[in-house]
Protein backbone atom coordinates (compact mmCIF):
# COMPACT_ATOMS: atom_id res chain seq x y z
CA UNK A 1 0.00 0.00 0.00
CA UNK A 2 2.70 2.47 1.03
CA UNK A 3 4.55 1.36 -2.12
CA UNK A 4 1.65 2.35 -4.31
CA UNK A 5 1.10 5.71 -2.63
CA UNK A 6 4.77 6.63 -2.74
CA UNK A 7 5.09 5.47 -6.34
CA UNK A 8 2.02 7.46 -7.39
CA UNK A 9 3.34 10.63 -5.78
CA UNK A 10 6.74 10.09 -7.34
CA UNK A 11 5.24 9.48 -10.79
CA UNK A 12 3.31 12.69 -10.43
CA UNK A 13 6.31 14.69 -9.30
CA UNK A 14 8.46 13.25 -12.10
CA UNK A 15 6.05 14.10 -14.92
CA UNK A 16 5.36 17.38 -13.15
CA UNK A 17 9.09 18.10 -13.36
CA UNK A 18 9.02 17.57 -17.11
CA UNK A 19 5.96 19.85 -17.45
CA UNK A 20 7.86 22.46 -15.46
CA UNK A 21 10.82 22.21 -17.89
CA UNK A 22 8.53 22.86 -20.85
CA UNK A 23 6.74 25.68 -19.03
CA UNK A 24 10.11 27.27 -18.18
CA UNK A 25 11.02 26.98 -21.85
CA UNK A 26 7.95 29.05 -22.73
CA UNK A 27 8.62 31.43 -19.83
CA UNK A 28 12.16 32.31 -20.95
CA UNK A 29 11.04 33.41 -24.40
CA UNK A 30 7.80 34.98 -23.17
CA UNK A 31 9.54 37.12 -20.58
CA UNK A 32 11.90 38.60 -23.16
CA UNK A 33 9.69 38.80 -26.24
CA UNK A 34 6.17 38.75 -24.81
CA UNK A 35 5.06 35.99 -27.20
CA UNK A 36 4.67 32.24 -26.92
CA UNK A 37 6.94 30.03 -29.00
CA UNK A 38 4.55 27.34 -30.27
CA UNK A 39 7.44 25.38 -31.80
CA UNK A 40 8.50 24.24 -28.33
CA UNK A 41 6.51 20.98 -28.49
CA UNK A 42 8.27 20.02 -31.72
CA UNK A 43 11.65 20.82 -30.13
CA UNK A 44 10.65 18.47 -27.30
CA UNK A 45 10.20 15.67 -29.86
CA UNK A 46 13.53 16.57 -31.46
CA UNK A 47 15.28 16.25 -28.09
CA UNK A 48 13.86 12.76 -27.64
CA UNK A 49 14.93 11.58 -31.09
CA UNK A 50 18.42 13.12 -30.88
CA UNK A 51 19.04 11.48 -27.48
CA UNK A 52 17.91 8.17 -28.95
CA UNK A 53 20.21 8.50 -31.98
CA UNK A 54 23.21 9.63 -29.94
CA UNK A 55 22.88 6.55 -27.78
CA UNK A 56 23.15 4.41 -30.90
CA UNK A 57 19.42 3.77 -31.31
CA UNK A 58 18.38 2.21 -34.62
CA UNK A 59 15.75 3.71 -36.88
CA UNK A 60 14.04 2.37 -39.96
CA UNK A 61 12.45 5.52 -41.41
CA UNK A 62 9.25 3.84 -42.64
CA UNK A 63 11.38 0.96 -43.95
CA UNK A 64 13.59 3.25 -46.08
CA UNK A 65 16.65 2.74 -43.87
CA UNK A 66 16.12 -0.53 -42.02
CA UNK A 67 18.37 -0.83 -38.99
CA UNK A 68 20.25 2.43 -39.62
CA UNK A 69 21.87 4.14 -36.67
CA UNK A 70 24.66 6.54 -35.81
CA UNK A 71 28.00 4.76 -35.42
CA UNK A 72 28.28 5.79 -31.80
CA UNK A 73 26.73 4.71 -28.57
CA UNK A 74 27.09 7.41 -25.96
CA UNK A 75 26.03 6.66 -22.39
CA UNK A 76 22.77 8.29 -21.31
CA UNK A 77 24.14 11.34 -19.48
CA UNK A 78 26.40 12.74 -22.24
CA UNK A 79 23.81 11.83 -24.86
CA UNK A 80 21.10 13.73 -22.99
CA UNK A 81 23.27 16.81 -22.45
CA UNK A 82 24.46 16.86 -26.06
CA UNK A 83 20.89 16.41 -27.27
CA UNK A 84 19.78 19.34 -25.10
CA UNK A 85 22.54 21.49 -26.62
CA UNK A 86 21.61 20.47 -30.19
CA UNK A 87 17.93 21.14 -29.51
CA UNK A 88 18.94 24.55 -28.17
CA UNK A 89 20.75 25.25 -31.46
CA UNK A 90 17.66 24.14 -33.38
CA UNK A 91 15.68 26.59 -31.26
CA UNK A 92 18.06 29.35 -32.39
CA UNK A 93 17.26 28.37 -35.97
CA UNK A 94 13.54 28.64 -35.15
CA UNK A 95 14.20 32.14 -33.83
CA UNK A 96 16.05 33.07 -36.99
CA UNK A 97 13.34 31.74 -39.34
CA UNK A 98 10.08 32.31 -37.47
CA UNK A 99 10.75 35.29 -35.20
CA UNK A 100 13.59 37.45 -36.58
CA UNK A 101 11.93 38.46 -39.89
CA UNK A 102 8.75 39.59 -38.10
CA UNK A 103 10.66 41.35 -35.33
CA UNK A 104 12.61 43.44 -37.81
CA UNK A 105 9.30 44.52 -39.31
CA UNK A 106 7.63 45.17 -35.96
CA UNK A 107 4.76 42.85 -36.87
CA UNK A 108 1.79 42.23 -34.58
CA UNK A 109 2.17 39.40 -32.01
CA UNK A 110 -0.54 37.29 -33.67
CA UNK A 111 1.79 36.59 -36.59
CA UNK A 112 4.46 35.05 -34.32
CA UNK A 113 1.88 32.50 -33.28
CA UNK A 114 1.42 31.38 -36.88
CA UNK A 115 5.09 31.37 -37.83
CA UNK A 116 6.23 29.50 -34.72
CA UNK A 117 3.48 26.94 -35.26
CA UNK A 118 4.64 26.68 -38.86
CA UNK A 119 8.20 26.05 -37.66
CA UNK A 120 6.90 23.33 -35.35
CA UNK A 121 4.92 21.76 -38.19
CA UNK A 122 8.04 21.71 -40.40
CA UNK A 123 10.12 20.16 -37.62
CA UNK A 124 7.62 17.44 -36.71
CA UNK A 125 7.08 16.50 -40.34
CA UNK A 126 10.82 16.48 -41.03
CA UNK A 127 11.20 14.07 -38.10
CA UNK A 128 8.39 11.95 -39.50
CA UNK A 129 10.05 11.92 -42.92
CA UNK A 130 13.54 11.12 -41.65
CA UNK A 131 12.75 8.87 -38.69
CA UNK A 132 9.44 7.39 -39.73
CA UNK A 133 6.09 7.51 -37.99
CA UNK A 134 6.68 4.37 -35.91
CA UNK A 135 7.53 4.47 -32.22
CA UNK A 136 10.94 3.52 -30.81
CA UNK A 137 11.86 2.17 -27.40
CA UNK A 138 15.26 2.96 -25.93
CA UNK A 139 17.46 -0.15 -25.56
CA UNK A 140 17.05 -1.95 -22.24
CA UNK A 141 20.68 -1.14 -21.46
CA UNK A 142 20.09 2.62 -21.86
CA UNK A 143 20.33 3.16 -18.13
CA UNK A 144 22.95 0.51 -17.40
CA UNK A 145 24.19 0.79 -13.84
CA UNK A 146 20.89 2.11 -12.55
CA UNK A 147 19.01 -0.50 -10.54
CA UNK A 148 15.43 -1.10 -11.60
CA UNK A 149 13.95 -0.18 -8.26
CA UNK A 150 15.05 1.54 -5.10
CA UNK A 151 14.19 0.83 -1.46
CA UNK A 152 12.98 4.02 0.20
CA UNK A 153 11.55 3.90 3.74
CA UNK A 154 10.61 0.27 3.29
CA UNK A 155 8.91 0.88 -0.06
CA UNK A 156 10.13 -0.17 -3.51
CA UNK A 157 9.92 2.54 -6.13
CA UNK A 158 10.96 2.69 -9.79
CA UNK A 159 14.33 4.37 -10.10
CA UNK A 160 13.71 5.89 -13.56
CA UNK A 161 11.20 8.26 -11.97
CA UNK A 162 13.78 9.21 -9.34
CA UNK A 163 16.25 9.97 -12.14
CA UNK A 164 13.65 12.08 -13.94
CA UNK A 165 12.87 14.07 -10.85
CA UNK A 166 16.57 14.52 -10.04
CA UNK A 167 17.48 15.79 -13.51
CA UNK A 168 14.49 18.16 -13.60
CA UNK A 169 15.31 19.50 -10.14
CA UNK A 170 18.96 20.01 -11.08
CA UNK A 171 18.00 21.83 -14.28
CA UNK A 172 15.53 24.07 -12.48
CA UNK A 173 18.02 24.91 -9.70
CA UNK A 174 20.77 25.63 -12.23
CA UNK A 175 18.48 27.89 -14.22
CA UNK A 176 17.29 29.78 -11.12
CA UNK A 177 20.84 30.24 -9.80
CA UNK A 178 21.96 31.48 -13.21
CA UNK A 179 19.09 33.96 -13.45
CA UNK A 180 19.62 35.30 -9.93
CA UNK A 181 23.38 35.23 -9.48
CA UNK A 182 25.21 35.50 -12.79
CA UNK A 183 25.84 38.67 -14.76
CA UNK A 184 24.29 37.31 -17.95
CA UNK A 185 21.30 35.91 -16.06
CA UNK A 186 20.60 39.28 -14.51
CA UNK A 187 21.05 40.93 -17.89
CA UNK A 188 18.35 38.61 -19.25
CA UNK A 189 16.03 39.59 -16.41
CA UNK A 190 16.75 43.25 -17.11
CA UNK A 191 15.78 42.81 -20.76
CA UNK A 192 12.63 40.98 -19.65
CA UNK A 193 11.73 43.84 -17.32
CA UNK A 194 12.29 46.65 -19.81
CA UNK A 195 14.15 46.11 -23.07
CA UNK A 196 14.63 49.82 -23.82
CA UNK A 197 16.16 50.65 -20.45
CA UNK A 198 18.33 47.53 -20.62
CA UNK A 199 19.64 48.65 -24.00
CA UNK A 200 20.44 52.10 -22.60
CA UNK A 201 22.40 50.39 -19.82
CA UNK A 202 24.54 48.75 -22.47
CA UNK A 203 22.98 45.28 -22.45
CA UNK A 204 22.97 43.60 -25.84
CA UNK A 205 19.26 42.72 -25.89
CA UNK A 206 19.55 40.81 -29.19
CA UNK A 207 22.17 38.51 -27.67
CA UNK A 208 19.98 38.01 -24.60
CA UNK A 209 17.05 37.12 -26.83
CA UNK A 210 19.12 34.48 -28.61
CA UNK A 211 20.30 33.17 -25.25
CA UNK A 212 16.67 32.87 -24.12
CA UNK A 213 15.82 30.83 -27.24
CA UNK A 214 18.91 28.63 -26.80
CA UNK A 215 18.07 27.83 -23.17
CA UNK A 216 14.37 27.42 -23.91
CA UNK A 217 15.11 24.85 -26.63
CA UNK A 218 17.63 23.08 -24.40
CA UNK A 219 15.03 22.70 -21.63
CA UNK A 220 12.52 21.24 -24.09
CA UNK A 221 15.20 18.90 -25.49
CA UNK A 222 16.06 17.76 -21.98
CA UNK A 223 12.39 16.99 -21.35
CA UNK A 224 12.12 15.02 -24.60
CA UNK A 225 15.18 12.90 -23.81
CA UNK A 226 13.92 12.16 -20.30
CA UNK A 227 10.45 11.13 -21.43
CA UNK A 228 12.00 9.05 -24.22
CA UNK A 229 14.17 7.05 -21.86
CA UNK A 230 11.54 6.67 -19.14
CA UNK A 231 8.61 5.76 -21.41
CA UNK A 232 9.48 5.56 -25.13
CA UNK A 233 9.33 7.61 -28.33
CA UNK A 234 5.75 7.04 -29.51
CA UNK A 235 6.27 9.04 -32.72
CA UNK A 236 7.24 12.53 -33.90
CA UNK A 237 4.03 14.01 -32.48
CA UNK A 238 4.97 13.07 -28.91
CA UNK A 239 6.09 16.59 -28.10
CA UNK A 240 2.84 18.27 -29.16
CA UNK A 241 0.97 16.86 -26.17
CA UNK A 242 3.73 17.90 -23.78
CA UNK A 243 3.87 21.30 -25.44
CA UNK A 244 0.15 21.78 -24.79
CA UNK A 245 0.45 20.59 -21.18
CA UNK A 246 3.36 22.97 -20.72
CA UNK A 247 1.12 25.75 -21.99
CA UNK A 248 -1.51 24.81 -19.39
CA UNK A 249 1.18 24.84 -16.69
CA UNK A 250 2.46 28.17 -17.94
CA UNK A 251 -0.92 29.80 -17.49
CA UNK A 252 -1.57 27.96 -14.24
CA UNK A 253 1.59 29.46 -12.77
CA UNK A 254 1.19 32.85 -14.38
CA UNK A 255 2.83 33.93 -17.66
CA UNK A 256 6.44 34.93 -17.21
CA UNK A 257 6.77 33.71 -13.62
CA UNK A 258 9.63 31.24 -12.97
CA UNK A 259 8.45 30.00 -9.53
CA UNK A 260 4.93 29.83 -10.99
CA UNK A 261 6.06 27.51 -13.79
CA UNK A 262 7.77 25.17 -11.31
CA UNK A 263 4.87 25.10 -8.84
CA UNK A 264 2.34 24.78 -11.67
CA UNK A 265 4.26 21.84 -13.17
CA UNK A 266 4.39 19.92 -9.90
CA UNK A 267 0.74 20.66 -9.16
CA UNK A 268 -0.33 19.46 -12.60
CA UNK A 269 1.82 16.31 -12.45
CA UNK A 270 0.47 15.34 -9.03
CA UNK A 271 -3.13 16.06 -10.03
CA UNK A 272 -2.74 13.78 -13.06
CA UNK A 273 -1.12 11.03 -11.02
CA UNK A 274 -4.11 10.98 -8.68
CA UNK A 275 -6.56 10.22 -11.51
CA UNK A 276 -7.68 6.61 -10.90
CA UNK A 277 -6.52 4.04 -13.45
CA UNK A 278 -10.02 3.22 -14.75
CA UNK A 279 -10.49 6.88 -15.73
CA UNK A 280 -7.03 7.23 -17.25
CA UNK A 281 -8.51 8.13 -20.66
CA UNK A 282 -9.75 11.35 -19.12
CA UNK A 283 -6.33 12.21 -17.65
CA UNK A 284 -5.35 14.33 -20.65
CA UNK A 285 -8.38 16.54 -20.14
CA UNK A 286 -7.62 17.17 -16.46
CA UNK A 287 -4.81 19.65 -17.13
CA UNK A 288 -7.07 21.70 -19.36
CA UNK A 289 -10.02 21.51 -17.00
CA UNK A 290 -7.77 22.85 -14.22
CA UNK A 291 -6.45 25.50 -16.59
CA UNK A 292 -9.99 26.53 -17.44
CA UNK A 293 -10.94 26.90 -13.79
CA UNK A 294 -7.80 28.85 -12.94
CA UNK A 295 -8.32 31.23 -15.85
CA UNK A 296 -11.84 31.92 -14.70
CA UNK A 297 -10.98 32.39 -11.04
CA UNK A 298 -7.56 34.05 -11.37
CA UNK A 299 -7.08 35.26 -14.96
CA UNK A 300 -3.44 36.20 -14.29
CA UNK A 301 -2.46 32.71 -13.04
CA UNK A 302 -1.60 31.57 -9.55
CA UNK A 303 1.59 33.62 -9.24
CA UNK A 304 1.15 36.06 -12.10
CA UNK A 305 1.48 39.82 -11.84
CA UNK A 306 -1.53 42.05 -12.28
CA UNK A 307 -1.44 44.49 -15.18
CA UNK A 308 -3.59 47.58 -15.44
CA UNK A 309 -4.79 48.60 -18.87
CA UNK A 310 -4.05 52.23 -19.62
CA UNK A 311 -5.86 54.40 -22.12
Amino acid sequence: MIDAVLQTLLNGAASGGVYALVALGYTLVFSVLGVINFALGALFSLGGYVTYLLMGGRISANGALPGWGLPLGLPFTPALLLAALLTGLASLLVERLAFAPLRRRGAEPLLYLITSLGAGLVLVNLLQMLMGAEGYAFPATALAGLPDALQVAGARIRSVQVLLLAVCTAAVIALTLWLERSRSGRALKAVAEDATTARLLGIDSEAMLRLAFLLSGALAGLGGGLIGVSISLPGPYMGIGYGLKGLAVLVLGGLGSVPGAIAGGLLMGLAEALVPADASGWRDALAFAILFLVLLLRPRGLLGRRQVEKV
Binding site: N62, I114, T115, G118, D284, A285, A289, F292
Partner: protein, 296 residues
Amino acid sequence: MIDHGLLVQMLIGALLGISVYLPLATGQLSLATPAFYAVGGTLAALLSTRWAALGARVDGSFPLPSFLLELVLGGALAGLLALLVGRLVLRLQGIYLAIATIALVEIVRVAILNLPFTGGAVGIFGIPQPFPTAAGYLPPALALLLLAGWVCQRLEVMALGRAMAAVREDELAARCMGIATTRVKLSAFVLSAVLAGSTGALAAHFLNTWNARQGSFDTAVTMLAFVILGGSRSWLGPVLGGLLLTALPELLRPVGDVRLVLFGLVILLGPALFPQGLVTPALLERLGRWGEGSRP
Protein backbone atom coordinates in the same frame (compact mmCIF):
# COMPACT_ATOMS: atom_id res chain seq x y z
CA MET B 1 -11.44 16.29 -64.63
CA ILE B 2 -12.11 18.26 -61.45
CA ASP B 3 -12.00 16.35 -58.20
CA HIS B 4 -15.36 17.15 -56.60
CA GLY B 5 -14.27 15.77 -53.24
CA LEU B 6 -11.38 18.24 -53.14
CA LEU B 7 -13.72 21.10 -54.01
CA VAL B 8 -16.02 20.18 -51.11
CA GLN B 9 -13.00 20.02 -48.78
CA MET B 10 -11.90 23.45 -49.98
CA LEU B 11 -15.37 24.88 -49.29
CA ILE B 12 -15.30 23.34 -45.80
CA GLY B 13 -11.90 25.01 -45.29
CA ALA B 14 -13.33 28.37 -46.38
CA LEU B 15 -16.28 27.97 -43.96
CA LEU B 16 -13.97 27.18 -41.06
CA GLY B 17 -11.81 30.14 -42.03
CA ILE B 18 -14.83 32.45 -41.68
CA SER B 19 -15.60 30.83 -38.33
CA VAL B 20 -12.12 31.74 -37.00
CA TYR B 21 -12.37 35.18 -38.62
CA LEU B 22 -15.60 36.24 -36.83
CA PRO B 23 -14.18 36.49 -33.26
CA LEU B 24 -11.00 37.98 -34.73
CA ALA B 25 -13.13 40.72 -36.29
CA THR B 26 -13.80 41.85 -32.71
CA GLY B 27 -10.08 41.60 -31.91
CA GLN B 28 -10.47 38.32 -29.99
CA LEU B 29 -8.11 35.48 -30.87
CA SER B 30 -10.25 32.37 -30.33
CA LEU B 31 -9.02 28.96 -31.45
CA ALA B 32 -12.25 27.25 -30.39
CA THR B 33 -13.56 26.58 -33.92
CA PRO B 34 -12.36 22.92 -34.01
CA ALA B 35 -14.24 22.23 -30.77
CA PHE B 36 -17.53 23.51 -32.25
CA TYR B 37 -16.79 21.75 -35.54
CA ALA B 38 -16.26 18.50 -33.60
CA VAL B 39 -19.47 19.01 -31.59
CA GLY B 40 -21.55 19.58 -34.75
CA GLY B 41 -19.95 16.64 -36.55
CA THR B 42 -20.37 14.28 -33.63
CA LEU B 43 -24.03 15.24 -33.22
CA ALA B 44 -24.72 14.59 -36.91
CA ALA B 45 -22.81 11.30 -36.84
CA LEU B 46 -24.72 10.12 -33.75
CA LEU B 47 -28.16 11.23 -34.93
CA SER B 48 -27.87 9.75 -38.41
CA THR B 49 -26.46 6.39 -37.28
CA ARG B 50 -28.43 5.87 -34.03
CA TRP B 51 -31.75 7.61 -34.50
CA ALA B 52 -33.87 5.61 -36.92
CA ALA B 53 -36.55 8.33 -37.09
CA LEU B 54 -34.26 10.38 -39.34
CA GLY B 55 -34.69 7.70 -41.96
CA ALA B 56 -31.23 6.27 -42.63
CA ARG B 57 -31.75 3.34 -45.01
CA VAL B 58 -30.00 -0.01 -45.10
CA ASP B 59 -28.30 0.82 -48.41
CA GLY B 60 -26.50 3.72 -46.66
CA SER B 61 -28.56 6.53 -48.16
CA PHE B 62 -30.13 9.32 -46.13
CA PRO B 63 -33.09 11.65 -46.75
CA LEU B 64 -32.16 15.22 -47.65
CA PRO B 65 -34.55 16.93 -45.16
CA SER B 66 -32.95 14.99 -42.29
CA PHE B 67 -29.51 16.12 -43.50
CA LEU B 68 -30.63 19.74 -43.55
CA LEU B 69 -32.18 19.32 -40.09
CA GLU B 70 -28.81 18.06 -38.84
CA LEU B 71 -27.04 21.12 -40.23
CA VAL B 72 -29.44 23.26 -38.20
CA LEU B 73 -29.15 21.11 -35.06
CA GLY B 74 -25.34 20.93 -35.29
CA GLY B 75 -25.16 24.69 -35.53
CA ALA B 76 -27.68 25.14 -32.72
CA LEU B 77 -25.89 22.82 -30.30
CA ALA B 78 -22.53 24.44 -31.03
CA GLY B 79 -24.08 27.88 -30.64
CA LEU B 80 -25.61 26.91 -27.29
CA LEU B 81 -22.26 25.63 -26.07
CA ALA B 82 -20.61 28.86 -27.25
CA LEU B 83 -23.20 30.88 -25.36
CA LEU B 84 -22.38 29.03 -22.13
CA VAL B 85 -18.59 28.96 -22.57
CA GLY B 86 -18.33 32.40 -24.14
CA ARG B 87 -19.79 34.14 -21.09
CA LEU B 88 -16.92 32.72 -19.07
CA VAL B 89 -13.93 32.89 -21.42
CA LEU B 90 -14.59 36.20 -23.16
CA ARG B 91 -13.61 38.02 -19.99
CA LEU B 92 -10.06 36.93 -20.79
CA GLN B 93 -7.74 39.02 -22.91
CA GLY B 94 -5.27 38.29 -25.68
CA ILE B 95 -3.15 35.19 -25.29
CA TYR B 96 -5.14 34.07 -22.21
CA LEU B 97 -8.26 33.79 -24.34
CA ALA B 98 -6.33 31.89 -27.03
CA ILE B 99 -5.04 29.40 -24.46
CA ALA B 100 -8.45 29.01 -22.81
CA THR B 101 -9.95 28.15 -26.19
CA ILE B 102 -7.13 25.67 -26.88
CA ALA B 103 -8.10 24.10 -23.53
CA LEU B 104 -11.71 23.89 -24.70
CA VAL B 105 -10.61 22.15 -27.90
CA GLU B 106 -8.59 19.61 -25.91
CA ILE B 107 -11.41 18.96 -23.41
CA VAL B 108 -13.90 18.35 -26.25
CA ARG B 109 -11.39 16.10 -28.04
CA VAL B 110 -10.72 13.97 -24.94
CA ALA B 111 -14.46 13.83 -24.19
CA ILE B 112 -15.27 12.54 -27.69
CA LEU B 113 -12.45 10.02 -27.36
CA ASN B 114 -13.70 8.68 -24.02
CA LEU B 115 -17.48 9.03 -23.96
CA PRO B 116 -19.14 5.60 -24.08
CA PHE B 117 -21.26 6.37 -27.15
CA THR B 118 -18.86 8.14 -29.54
CA GLY B 119 -16.91 5.10 -30.68
CA GLY B 120 -13.57 5.76 -28.97
CA ALA B 121 -10.45 6.12 -31.09
CA VAL B 122 -12.08 4.51 -34.15
CA GLY B 123 -15.01 6.89 -34.00
CA ILE B 124 -18.36 6.57 -35.71
CA PHE B 125 -18.25 5.08 -39.18
CA GLY B 126 -20.71 4.22 -41.93
CA ILE B 127 -22.44 7.60 -41.65
CA PRO B 128 -25.33 7.47 -44.17
CA GLN B 129 -25.03 9.50 -47.37
CA PRO B 130 -27.67 12.00 -48.49
CA PHE B 131 -26.00 12.19 -51.92
CA PRO B 132 -24.77 9.34 -54.11
CA THR B 133 -21.49 11.11 -55.06
CA ALA B 134 -19.11 13.72 -53.60
CA ALA B 135 -20.39 16.21 -56.18
CA GLY B 136 -23.76 16.18 -54.40
CA TYR B 137 -22.18 17.93 -51.40
CA LEU B 138 -21.13 20.91 -53.54
CA PRO B 139 -24.52 22.71 -53.57
CA PRO B 140 -25.12 22.55 -49.78
CA ALA B 141 -21.49 23.52 -49.01
CA LEU B 142 -21.64 26.38 -51.49
CA ALA B 143 -25.01 27.50 -50.13
CA LEU B 144 -23.64 27.52 -46.59
CA LEU B 145 -20.62 29.56 -47.73
CA LEU B 146 -22.81 32.07 -49.58
CA LEU B 147 -25.06 32.36 -46.52
CA ALA B 148 -22.03 32.95 -44.26
CA GLY B 149 -20.61 35.49 -46.72
CA TRP B 150 -23.96 37.26 -46.96
CA VAL B 151 -24.20 37.48 -43.15
CA CYS B 152 -20.64 38.88 -42.96
CA GLN B 153 -21.40 41.39 -45.69
CA ARG B 154 -24.67 42.44 -44.00
CA LEU B 155 -22.80 42.82 -40.71
CA GLU B 156 -20.72 45.61 -42.23
CA VAL B 157 -23.73 47.89 -42.47
CA MET B 158 -25.48 46.68 -39.33
CA ALA B 159 -24.97 48.17 -35.88
CA LEU B 160 -23.50 44.87 -34.64
CA GLY B 161 -20.84 44.78 -37.37
CA ARG B 162 -19.86 48.38 -36.74
CA ALA B 163 -19.68 47.70 -33.01
CA MET B 164 -17.46 44.67 -33.77
CA ALA B 165 -15.04 46.88 -35.71
CA ALA B 166 -15.05 49.44 -32.90
CA VAL B 167 -14.23 46.77 -30.32
CA ARG B 168 -11.39 45.49 -32.51
CA GLU B 169 -9.83 48.91 -32.94
CA ASP B 170 -10.02 49.92 -29.27
CA GLU B 171 -12.09 47.98 -26.77
CA LEU B 172 -11.73 50.52 -23.98
CA ALA B 173 -12.77 53.40 -26.25
CA ALA B 174 -15.73 51.35 -27.53
CA ARG B 175 -16.87 50.69 -23.99
CA CYS B 176 -16.58 54.40 -23.17
CA MET B 177 -18.81 55.11 -26.18
CA GLY B 178 -21.51 52.99 -24.59
CA ILE B 179 -21.03 49.84 -26.69
CA ALA B 180 -21.83 46.67 -24.71
CA THR B 181 -18.46 45.14 -25.62
CA THR B 182 -19.06 41.80 -23.92
CA ARG B 183 -22.34 41.33 -25.79
CA VAL B 184 -20.68 42.21 -29.09
CA LYS B 185 -17.83 39.76 -28.50
CA LEU B 186 -20.28 37.07 -27.40
CA SER B 187 -22.42 37.57 -30.53
CA ALA B 188 -19.38 37.10 -32.78
CA PHE B 189 -18.28 34.05 -30.78
CA VAL B 190 -21.73 32.42 -31.04
CA LEU B 191 -22.02 33.18 -34.76
CA SER B 192 -18.59 31.60 -35.26
CA ALA B 193 -19.67 28.50 -33.33
CA VAL B 194 -22.97 28.10 -35.21
CA LEU B 195 -21.10 28.20 -38.51
CA ALA B 196 -18.49 25.69 -37.28
CA GLY B 197 -21.21 23.36 -35.93
CA SER B 198 -23.17 23.31 -39.20
CA THR B 199 -19.94 22.81 -41.14
CA GLY B 200 -19.08 19.88 -38.86
CA ALA B 201 -22.47 18.27 -39.52
CA LEU B 202 -21.92 18.60 -43.26
CA ALA B 203 -18.35 17.29 -43.00
CA ALA B 204 -19.42 14.25 -40.95
CA HIS B 205 -21.67 13.03 -43.79
CA PHE B 206 -19.15 14.00 -46.45
CA LEU B 207 -16.26 12.19 -44.73
CA ASN B 208 -18.42 9.15 -43.87
CA THR B 209 -16.50 8.57 -40.62
CA TRP B 210 -16.08 10.87 -37.65
CA ASN B 211 -13.65 10.66 -34.70
CA ALA B 212 -11.93 12.77 -32.11
CA ARG B 213 -9.04 13.63 -34.45
CA GLN B 214 -11.32 15.91 -36.49
CA GLY B 215 -11.04 18.66 -33.91
CA SER B 216 -7.52 18.89 -32.52
CA PHE B 217 -4.97 21.57 -31.73
CA ASP B 218 -3.32 21.02 -35.15
CA THR B 219 -6.56 21.81 -36.96
CA ALA B 220 -6.97 24.94 -34.84
CA VAL B 221 -3.62 26.19 -36.03
CA THR B 222 -4.28 25.36 -39.64
CA MET B 223 -7.60 27.21 -39.52
CA LEU B 224 -5.93 30.27 -38.01
CA ALA B 225 -3.42 30.12 -40.85
CA PHE B 226 -6.36 30.31 -43.31
CA VAL B 227 -7.28 33.68 -41.82
CA ILE B 228 -3.79 35.09 -41.41
CA LEU B 229 -2.51 34.12 -44.85
CA GLY B 230 -5.79 35.03 -46.51
CA GLY B 231 -6.06 38.37 -44.74
CA SER B 232 -7.92 39.20 -41.57
CA ARG B 233 -9.47 42.53 -42.62
CA SER B 234 -12.41 41.12 -44.55
CA TRP B 235 -14.28 37.83 -44.69
CA LEU B 236 -12.96 37.35 -48.22
CA GLY B 237 -9.49 36.76 -46.75
CA PRO B 238 -10.30 33.60 -44.76
CA VAL B 239 -12.37 32.31 -47.70
CA LEU B 240 -9.41 32.65 -50.05
CA GLY B 241 -6.99 31.31 -47.41
CA GLY B 242 -9.27 28.36 -46.63
CA LEU B 243 -9.71 27.43 -50.29
CA LEU B 244 -5.99 27.66 -51.11
CA LEU B 245 -4.53 26.08 -47.97
CA THR B 246 -6.97 23.16 -48.04
CA ALA B 247 -6.09 22.48 -51.65
CA LEU B 248 -2.33 22.83 -51.14
CA PRO B 249 -1.57 19.58 -49.23
CA GLU B 250 -3.74 17.64 -51.69
CA LEU B 251 -2.12 19.21 -54.75
CA LEU B 252 1.29 18.44 -53.23
CA ARG B 253 0.38 14.77 -52.81
CA PRO B 254 2.55 13.70 -55.79
CA VAL B 255 5.73 14.87 -54.03
CA GLY B 256 5.10 12.34 -51.24
CA ASP B 257 6.20 12.74 -47.64
CA VAL B 258 7.74 16.18 -48.20
CA ARG B 259 4.30 17.72 -48.72
CA LEU B 260 3.56 18.36 -45.04
CA VAL B 261 7.03 19.89 -44.62
CA LEU B 262 6.30 22.22 -47.54
CA PHE B 263 2.89 23.04 -46.07
CA GLY B 264 4.62 23.94 -42.79
CA LEU B 265 7.08 26.13 -44.70
CA VAL B 266 4.19 28.06 -46.27
CA ILE B 267 2.75 28.74 -42.80
CA LEU B 268 6.23 29.57 -41.46
CA LEU B 269 7.24 31.99 -44.21
CA GLY B 270 3.84 33.28 -45.35
CA PRO B 271 3.29 35.92 -42.65
CA ALA B 272 6.69 37.50 -43.34
CA LEU B 273 6.03 37.59 -47.09
CA PHE B 274 2.39 38.73 -46.86
CA PRO B 275 2.07 40.46 -43.47
CA GLN B 276 -1.44 41.70 -44.35
CA GLY B 277 -2.53 38.47 -46.00
CA LEU B 278 -3.40 37.93 -49.65
CA VAL B 279 -6.57 40.02 -49.47
CA THR B 280 -4.99 43.30 -48.36
CA PRO B 281 -6.89 46.50 -47.53
CA ALA B 282 -5.44 48.00 -50.73
CA LEU B 283 -6.89 45.14 -52.76
CA LEU B 284 -10.26 45.58 -51.07
CA GLU B 285 -10.18 49.24 -52.02
CA ARG B 286 -9.80 48.30 -55.64
CA LEU B 287 -12.60 45.77 -55.41
CA GLY B 288 -14.84 48.78 -55.03
CA ARG B 289 -18.26 48.78 -53.52
CA TRP B 290 -18.37 45.03 -52.92
CA GLY B 291 -15.45 45.25 -50.52
CA GLU B 292 -16.06 48.79 -49.41
CA GLY B 293 -17.98 47.95 -46.29
CA SER B 294 -15.33 45.45 -45.27
CA ARG B 295 -12.75 48.07 -44.48
CA PRO B 296 -12.49 49.07 -40.83
